[in-house]
């Protein structure tokens, strides 16, 4: 019995300013089956929701259409309100007359008419809605954390400390990420490694954390609470159980001139190596690309010298499968590379370096042991130019966004330089100084006022070498666009933060969406910043957008809290928007003919085969059946099914058909 209530929201002026809501309410009241049609200033407000609840009770409504904003915004709100009034939440639908109507069309008759029609469509749908009940699925209380940078470390520790198993996967040989490369951190100038390494050790020793370094996610199947991850453990060449991390192999390795990734190319490493002395685990890996044995087929010096006999030159990559209930993606970021800056001679002139390289120069554990020496000749630079916004906020480089941390670390760099080279000159070219953070502005002021960094507002147009000096040509816009030319010994580019090269393929593996710059997308920019559109997959750190350390840590803890929340019960309720194959009384049983074309099309392997037997146990026919735990409700099977034996709850054939009939 259809008794539909229609609730039209003014959304202040957002809808009512463009759509004649009174006329809409009147028209909706005349639709067949509609017994109640009202408008109100803010339906999502408490009084608005109360109106709905009261009407459900008083008018015995069997369905509710809220004409307001996008269902992506408030559908849960209104469905909850309906549930509170005793109406199955799936008997509530929203007509999007804001995002799809009032905000995108001019005020006028046509727009009001469109709002009316959008509501009519939803009224026809909701008449065919059936009460649906959440589906309970078991939850595997193990989290998979992808990325062992500070965000991943924090998330892993928080989840583990909440009492759940964690599998932490890190691509490089050691956890620590970019933070481990930094010398000091702004705005406190405390030593990065000093604060990070204890955390790294904690991870390694935590009884609830399984750490897989030098490993990558191969694929992820399944769904929230029930993922199956395949992890590729790349061949380390070293038996982790036997290796004590004594380092003899590293000392003996004849290949010693390989640019160190950890030192951002400023230092060298061997073919069997640990990224840095603080590595966790402190066990080397063999870089097969540079190892003499793999290139020439002989060497094996490491094997010879290893007392524990831990070297495994014939080791192969291993794929392990783990069952996890949630995934935290904390895969971090990359920086824009040299090929993108021909005008700055980056990559061409050795003394034009990027921020990370400067960090390694400034780091006490770095290749120069903290002395600022320029790469070309090892001399202490007397004049250093720091260029902020190298690539960021630059449409020409395809990066319109702000990389967020460069203002701060450039100030830090200038400061560190001045602390180490007291009579050196530090120039900073900047566009704007963005120092919005606790003690950030003060920090920048200190760099300028106490440490005497010279800040020039303007862009650098070109850098070239002349007589062993780097000529930096730019303008100072504060002096009326006056050209500026500085003869520098070293130039540090605050290159833009970009997504990892393989962020897109990761997003595809995880089935989460990503923005045009390949940063992973959160489910809602404000209200669900650590969740993704794929249930059970959360975000932490700079894989989502450029972030500084405290933000990354905060988000990681947020993601961990979400995971812990998910793991707080052994069962999870899922939206019942799933496919169902019909079952009918004998002699039909089901209109499914058992062609199983749906089976092949299902991306989740959710279609199973069921034998229908007579009383004697003879198989009468074999028909399809949907595993409600695996089905995610895409409906591809429904479109494919010739006889429509399979239908999608919440978007049934009848519902969609009737929506169309209302056009």
């Amino acid at each position: 019995m259809a008794r539909i209530g229609v609730f039209i929201c003014h959304c202040g002026e957002n809808i009512a300013g463009t759509v004649d809501v009174f006329k809409v309410a009147e028209a909706a009241g005349k639709f067949p089956g509609v017994v109640h049609s009202v408008e109100y200033k803010y339906m999502c407000s408490d009084p608005g929701q109360t109106m709905i609840k009261d009407a459900i009770k008083e008018k015995k409504l069997t369905g509710v259409v809220v004409a307001a904003c996008s269902p992506r915004m408030h559908e849960p709100t209104f469905r909850r309100a309906c549930a509170e009034a005793g109406l199955n939440p799936f008997l509530c639908e929203m007509a999007n007359i804001r995002e799809h109507c009032s905000w995108v069309h001019e005020k006028g008759e046509a727009t009001t008419q469109k709002a009316i029609e959008l509501i009519r469509i939803m009224v026809e749908k909701v008449k065919r809605n059936k009460p649906l009940y959440s589906i309970k699925v078991p939850v595997t209380k193990t989290a998979l954390v992808l990325g062992g940078g500070i965000a991943g470390i924090q998330a892993a520790l928080d989840i583990a400390n909440a009492g759940h198993q964690v599998i932490l996967v890190e691509r490089s040989p050691s956890i620590g990420g970019h933070m481990l490369q930094l010398s000091e951190t702004f705005p406190t100038l405390d030593c990065s490694q000093c604060i990070l390494t204890p955390r790294m050790v904690e991870v390694a020793q935590h009884p609830k954390i399984t750490l897989y370094t030098y490993s990558e996610l191969e694929s992820l199947d399944g769904f929230i609470g029930n993922f199956k991850a395949r992890i590729r453990r790349k061949a380390r060449g070293v038996d982790e159980k036997l290796c004590t991390g004594c380092g003899v192999c590293i000392q003996k390795c004849p290949q010693k001139k390989i640019p160190s990734e950890f030192d951002a190319g400023m230092g060298k490493r061997t073919a069997i190596y640990v990224p840095c002395p603080q590595s966790v685990p402190n066990q080397p890996v063999i870089d097969r690309e540079h190892c003499t044995y793999y290139i020439k087929g002989k060497c094996k010096i490491c094997e010879k010298f290893c007392e524990r006999k831990a070297i495994r030159l014939d080791q192969q990559d291993e794929i392990i499968e783990v069952n996890v209930g949630a995934v935290v993606a904390a895969t971090g970021f990359d920086i824009l590379h040299s090929k993108d800056f021909p005008e700055y001679g980056y990559g061409k002139y050795p003394d034009v370096i990027d921020g990370l390289q400067f960090e390694r120069l400034a780091s006490a554990s770095g290749p120069t042991l903290g002395a600022i020496k320029r790469p070309s000749d090892g001399k202490e630079p007397e004049t250093v130019v720091f260029i902020a916004c190298a690539g960021s906020r630059d449409d020409a480089k395809g990066i319109p966004y702000c990389s967020k941390i460069c203002c701060m670390y450039t100030a830090k760099h200038a400061m560190l330089y001045k602390h180490k080279v007291h009579n050196g000159k530090a120039y900073v070219f900047y566009m704007d100084i963005r120092a919005g953070g606790k003690n950030y502005e003060e920090f920048v002021r200190r760099a300028i006022e106490e440490d005497g960094a010279v800040y020039l507002r303007g862009r650098v147009s070109r850098i070239y070498e002349e007589d062993g000096k780097l000529i930096v040509k730019g303008v100072d816009t504060l002096l009326g666009a006056q050209p500026v030319e500085i003869k520098a010994d070293m130039v540090v580019l605050a290159t833009a933060i970009v997504a990892n090269q393989d962020a897109e393929s990761l997003a595809q593996k995880l089935r989460v969406s990503y923005d045009p710059y390949h940063f992973l997308s959160e489910a809602h920019p404000k209200l669900r910043p650590v969740e993704t559109n794929t249930a059970g997959i959360f975000l932490a750190g700079a894989c989502q957008a450029p972030k500084d350390i405290p933000e990354a840590v905060a988000q990681a803890s947020g993601a961990a809290a979400k995971v812990a929340g998910l793991f707080s019960s052994s069962e999870l309720s899922r939206e019942p928007v799933i496919a169902v194959v019909n079952r009918l009384p004998p002699p039909v049983f089901s209109t499914c003919t058992g062609c199983f074309l749906c089976e092949k099309a299902c991306p989740y392997q959710a279609i199973e085969r069921e034998e229908i037997k007579d009383r004697k146990g003879n198989v009468i026919k074999v028909v399809a059946k949907v595993n409600p735990g695996l089905c995610q409700g895409c409906g591809t099977c429904v479109a494919l099914c010739r006889v429509k034996a399979i239908d999608l709850q919440g978007f049934t054939n009848e519902q969609v058909y009737c929506e169309l009939m209302a056009l």
Partner: protein, 279 residues
Amino acid sequence: MSEPNIYQPFLMRIDKITEEAPLVKTFKLVFVNDEEGKKFQFKAGQFGEYSVFGEGECTLCIASPPTRPGYIECTFRQAGRVTGALAGKEEGEIIGFRGPYGNTFPLEQWQGKNLLFIAGGIALPPLRCVIWNALDLRDRFKEITVIYGARSVADLVYKQELEEWAKRGDLKILTTVDPGGETPDWKGEIGFVPAVLEKADPICENTVALVCGPPIMIKLTLPVLAKLGFSPENTFTTLENRMKCGIGKCGHCMVGKYFVCKDGPVFTLAQLNQLPPEY
């Protein structure tokens, strides 16, 4: 066209909707056009074609008795396209009705006889029409016995009337539910209809039996009736073949040479025994 359009339904306003059981409802329908209503007459056992405009027609018996003019009632279970659409209708809305069609229970011939009604599940409506008809003309009949069973207490239809009948002293009523279908406070019988019938052991002399129910119930009840001494001529039932026109033209409801819509829906067991098994 000079003659009226036999496919044009009366417009009926839904006056009252009663929820009988899960997916089962009763509509009380009144004629939109008073004149038509006044002229309308039918007899117990007849049926009609009820229609939802835009969805089509469905065949249902008239569940109210002819002794109560001015309205008709139908009871239906939501199953197909039309009954589904009917279920979506509200009080005050308009549906179509063509009828009455088909033959009738020969109540006139039953004067002075005992009436035994046996019904199962959603098949009570055709008998309910006769029961009320007989109750409204109570003095014409002798003993009236009703045996009605459903799968569970929830599945019983006309729950209020069952209570009302139970309170009346002028008929005997046995309601039963299948084992497992009872509720804690269920006071009726528990067991299948044939068993309850056998236990009730009604007299067969001067008695006509009317049986309506799902095929399996009928199949198991008929031997019990025979055992109790009911002759095929005194055992009545209704057939529910698929129908489209209801007036002996479209061919859907044929059983052998008979049109269920014209020669039925009421048949005696004796007649049924002559029919080919096409129902």
